[in-house]
């Protein structure tokens, strides 16, 4: 069939990315698959990137474009923090992302979700999709896998969740998207940001819940074949 697999195709993070606010902070989540065409170039990528101590960004779309934008914004924010004398706000970080995305819209192909915590506004999530629009939202989803989550969030999202509820929602959502989006996969990474600091979590592929038509993983077919026959019923 496709014996001329394009190993030179641009690295794209097909991706599922999510940002959710909760009472006290934000939870950012992402899958870990980076693909070159149909080949999975990296099955354990880290798509949640630090901009400052208190602001992180979820990257989707072109791996190169999202990396370079993050690099520039981290650089600007570093200088800004020194000049300001205190941590940058999430809004400033999001706006810098927007400036680069908007002013280079013809050349960039990356959708970003900025999330963090600052002392003025608390936990905030900003979406910066293709084109460079800036939208502040209580939660937002992005990447190719997000198509499969619009209905899910319409039903499952609630105002005023706790930290654990928010994180469970994010892990469940990324896991559902991975089940249906070929461009998403691997592990689920989450980053929780609040007044106390930043917590990174890692949910490996074999620890995620099983969905429709998915089966419990086995070591080998041989184990199933050698399993004892069911006992006769005692009716």
């Amino acid at each position: 069939m496709d014996l001329n697999m394009n190993v030179d195709a641009p690295h794209s993070m097909g991706t599922t990315i999510i940002g959710v606010t909760y009472d006290g902070g934000v939870v950012l989540g992402a899958d870990s698959r980076t693909s070159t065409g149909m080949y999975v170039a990296n099955r354990a990528s880290d798509k949640i990137t630090q901009l400052t101590d208190n602001v992180y960004v979820c990257r989707s779309g072109s791996a190169a474009d999202s990396q370079i934008v993050s690099d520039y914004v981290r650089y600007f924010l570093h200088q800004h923090t020194i000049q300001l004398g205190q941590p940058a706000t999430v809004k400033v970080a999001a706006n810098l992302i927007r400036l680069l995305s908007y002013n280079n819209k013809n050349m960039l192909q990356t959708g970003l979700i900025v999330g963090g915590w600052d002392k003025y506004e608390g936990g905030k999530i900003y979406g910066v999709p293709l084109g460079g629009t800036l939208v502040e939202q209580p939660f937002t989803i992005g990447g190719s896998g997000s198509s499969y989550l619009y209905g899910f969030f319409d039903q499952a999202w609630k105002e005023g969740m706790t930290k654990d509820e928010a994180e469970q929602l994010v892990v469940k959502a990324v896991s559902l998207a991975i089940a249906r989006d070929g461009a998403s996969g691997g592990v689920v990474r989450t980053v929780i940001i609040n007044s106390e600091g930043v917590t990174r979590n890692f949910y490996p592929g074999d620890k995620l819940p099983l969905w429709h038509e998915e089966l419990e993983p086995q070591n080998s077919l041989l184990d199933i074949l050698n399993a004892p026959s069911p006992e006769p019923m005692n009716i």
Binding site: M1, V40, T49
Partner: protein, 245 residues
Amino acid sequence: MNFMASKQPENSLLGPEADSQRTLYPYVTGTSVVALKYKDGILMAADMGGSYGSTLRYKSVERMKSIGKHSLLGASGEISDFQEILRYLDELILYDNMWDDGNSLGPKEVHNYLTRVMYNRRNKFNPLWNSLVLGGVKNGQKYLGTVSMIGVNFEDNHVATGFGNHLARPILRQEWHENLSYEDGVRLLEKCMRVLLYRDRSAINKLQIAKITEEGTTISRPYSLKTYWEFSAFANPAQGAVGTW
């Protein structure tokens, strides 16, 4: 100036091209099939995914089917074309049985038939969008061959389609040997399928392994493989390389 109204039908279904349709591109596709010869016959593995572009739409598609008494066919590519091929083979086997002469089509014959079908369709620019693996045993002789959508066909001790060619064949070239036991064959196929699961975007974690021997064909029930994610570099990618992605 065009005075005469053109007699060309506007609707493409009214012209001479009306009765034939061409597969220009596939819609619902299956990914790799991997197969090898072992001591008693052939082992073949394929996952149960039917992808619709990048969506993993169908997760219980059986991509391996038994053909006649002596053959096993696995397919990747467009599922509807595979189903059409199964209809052609049904008819072929039926006519063969109607001779009622004690002879039955073996894997070599079925493979040759498929090669002719695939190649002739390719020549008409209307291919069946599949890569096929045909394995079987007849009179103690093991046979394993493959045909692609353009009619390329050959036999070997181990074959694969699609991504399997890039990821599974190298493993098989290293680790396959004559007279593999059933257990070793299954483990080797599972090793290949696990790599495909990690690295092929269209792979899903639900597969079947089929075995064909002189006695007959068995296709296992669907099952899933365990995967490994506990490398410390996966949990902490930035540990030895600060600022990495």
